[in-house]
Symmetry: C2
Subunit: 271 residues, 2 copies
Amino acid sequence: MRALVDGQPADAIGIDDRGLAYGDGLFETLAVQAGRPCLWDRHLARLASGCRRLGLACPDAEVLRDEAMMLARGHARAVLKITLTRTGRGRGYRPAPDAGVRRMLAISAWPPPRDGDAGVAVRLCHTVCGLSPVLAGLKHLGRLEQVLARAEWDDPDVPEGLMLDPLGAVVEATQANLFLERQGRLVTPRLDAAGVAGVVRGLAMDLAAAAGEPVREDRVVLEDVRSAQALYLTNSLIGVWRVARFEGREYDLSRPVHPVMARTVERAYGP
Amino acid sequence: MRALVDGQPADAIGIDDRGLAYGDGLFETLAVQAGRPCLWDRHLARLASGCRRLGLACPDAEVLRDEAMMLARGHARAVLKITLTRTGRGRGYRPAPDAGVRRMLAISAWPPPRDGDAGVAVRLCHTVCGLSPVLAGLKHLGRLEQVLARAEWDDPDVPEGLMLDPLGAVVEATQANLFLERQGRLVTPRLDAAGVAGVVRGLAMDLAAAAGEPVREDRVVLEDVRSAQALYLTNSLIGVWRVARFEGREYDLSRPVHPVMARTVERAYGP
């Protein structure tokens, strides 16, 4: 079994699904390790928070967990995707008063590994990440800007690119959040007007706060990126990548990984 | 037959469709009148232009027309929706090098009529329409802001609401474009950073230009809306609606409809 739609083995939905029609939904991408989805509670918390913001009924947590575990079972490493869309009849943007939620869970192969410790090369995308205060932070289904940004290049040695907002602030990478290290302190772009508040980003911020040196969320511009001592990219599949190069600037990979980022790596594939 | 997917009778797609997963696609909503889709050439031109901007292969025009005609045949009035999504294997935002396009056409019932000449009441939405220079103007699949805006109210006597961008400019209504009449001249919000460039909006602008009094595309703020002599909303299903009220301001419906808007109504349901 590779996918479940509302609990039943299935891999199709109607072309009138509001997720397809309007992007009216959310998703989560989880690493599966040793037959279990990683950082389950964090992913579920983000899903529940996103549902609240969209006025979407969040599926029962136990039901989601059971379905996720059923799909993850037996996979040494895999990727689990959970998609929620708003149901309801009728054409038009207005949600039906009795709208419910459709859940789709699918498991797929783990991507080819890349050694994050060796450092990755990152470019600057021309495609701008829009400003949307009502959607900022959400992992909603409308990812067309990221698609266009990722379509800009095909060099396999450059796995990521940074995106700016229309006012010139750095938001994130196409599929990952960004952390900068400056004089030993971590800074990450504010996501109050654009971007996705990643689960591993949240983990790193919680670990930093617990260590008594909270990550600063700030407006970050390209000059901050260039002058940083180190850059890190985070998401649920890669965990943490160190950045080796960004647009001509080389970062010193002989420096030790920031301790918060080291702890984040250890925890990224845990429960 | 109610729907075709890639030319075959079908009403489902895979849950890995990139339209669902990432909003990686476009759509058109057409009025069908007397068995024929209205403003076909304009809808097709917008689709082709959107495909170019997204790097998406546009389906053959003859194929699309044949499928649209097949579905529209026999319907006195109906709604035809055309959705295009990017195909291609694999997880992740990056489009596959050999990505193609999937086409879905579906026909549905004409919405209950509303007398646009009698004037409609319009409200101001709290939900802000984001700024996305790369997506502005496109009728792409990510319409979540419009969904949230339209979910703000359920008064059947108020069919539309205006949306502002984060900088306070008026962009459009949730499902329609806006025209203001000022001293006999028409003005419509610029859509270079947000909004959907509607087909009937384009028709009205072309008719105005042909009459030697082009519509001015400008930054529009709420004070402009309040001080306008008349407001009009346009889209492919409603044609043109006059606005009777907006947030306490009443517009004089005894004034004659602007001649360009009158001609737009006559043409909106034509070929």
